[in-house]
């Protein structure tokens, strides 16, 4: 396998995608969220779980989808492999800032702990570190 880091990016984003898909479905159908920490429901029912009327997981769904698609396209041809790494880093960095903000809201405003928000933060950290290190290795891209 030529590009292991891209596979890591793809796998992380895919896990994030399914988490966001599950949460979006539950939010949009006003259904409970399976939660081991007890905090997810508190977050879901908070007015802060929506931005401009759009549930927060929907933003995650868009971000993760973009990264999954771009990581996949990078394996299709060399041109994409070179050109799509920076956009992946940009989306991942944006996601990291967004995710950090959401965890801040959970911990300090809603005063609870949401397992999904925390896992998403870890995924975004992983995505930024992996894409950044790949970018460092290939300075010409």
């Amino acid at each position: 396998m030529k590009n292991k880091k891209n596979a890591v990016i793809f796998a992380l984003a895919l896990v994030g995608f399914f988490i966001a898909l599950y949460l979006s479905k539950q939010y949009l159908s006003n259904s409970p969220v399976l939660c081991f920490t007890g905090g997810c429901e508190k977050v879901r029912l908070s007015p802060l779980s929506k931005i401009a009327g759009i549930p927060v997981p929907v933003f995650g769904l868009v971000g993760y989808s973009l990264i999954v698609i771009m990581a996949f396209l990078r394996t299709v041809n060399v041109e994409f492999e070179k050109k799509l790494l920076k956009p992946i880093l940009v989306v991942a960095f944006g996601g990291l800032v967004f995710s950090a903000y959401n965890n801040f809201v959970d911990w300090f405003i809603i005063k609870t702990f949401c397992q999904y928000c925390f896992v998403c933060l870890l995924i975004m950290i992983g995505l930024v570190i992996t894409s950044k290190s790949e970018l460092k290795q290939s300075p010409t891209t």
């Binding site: 596979a7 399914f18 429901e41």
Partner: protein, 203 residues
């Protein structure tokens, strides 16, 4: 197709497989419990000669119970001639005022206002304090002196304790937990509750 593309497709298939196993392999939609324990006690409404009995173990401080409350109310309103609904208490230890809220609802029940009181508790869930119980009883025109006395009576406390004991005996995973004719429902979506109950009613 390059090797890298193939690897990503394998990763995608494995991930989808794992997710599908978690979603579809987590058991059937229903689970068997001891029906004699499920439906004893509680506060009932709806049909006296029901075709179907729906039982809920609930906690007035549980956000999901608040979310499902209007769904249950709608079910009773629509199908009250054939459906019996039993509300049972399962005050969770992480909610310090949940047991007291259950006592308050049972005290309101002794004055025939359980359902109104229950709805007020869910509506005000975010802002409930120790003082709220009496205030709600005043709002609902209850006899406040009797309400306060009943709330701490051994009859009321015993009722809540019995529900709580049964919930533990049934090994309930949390709240809300629903039973349809004694069969435990594994709901992933509250819209499914309406669907499952109405399907059973129309059988």
């Amino acid at each position: 197709m390059s090797n890298d593309t193939k690897v990503l497709l394998v990763i995608a298939l494995v991930t989808i497989g794992v997710i599908a196993f978690i979603v579809f392999g987590s058991g059937s939609a229903t689970q068997s419990y001891d029906p004699t324990v499920v439906n004893r006690g509680g506060v009932a409404t709806g049909s006296a000669t029901p075709k179907v009995t729906l039982t809920e173990f609930s906690d007035f401080f549980c956000p999901s119970c608040r979310t499902v409350n209007p769904v249950v109310d709608q079910l009773i309103q629509k199908n009250g001639d054939r459906l019996k609904f039993i509300y049972r208490h399962f005050p969770l230890p992480q909610h310090p005022l949940a047991f007291k809220a259950a006592q308050a609802a049972e005290a309101a029940n002794l004055q025939g206002k359980f359902w109104d009181y229950k709805n007020r508790l869910f509506e005000d869930q975010e802002n409930l304090t120790d003082a709220s119980f009496e205030l709600i009883s005043k709002d609902l025109n209850l006899d406040v002196a009797k309400f306060n006395k009943d709330m701490n009576s051994s009859e009321v406390i015993g009722k809540v304790q019995r529900d709580e004991r049964d919930a533990k005996k049934l090994n309930l995973p949390g709240t809300p937990t629903f039973f349809l004719d004694g069969e435990g429902l594994n709901l992933t979506n509250f819209a499914d509750l309406t669907k499952i109950v109405e399907e059973k009613l129309n059988q």
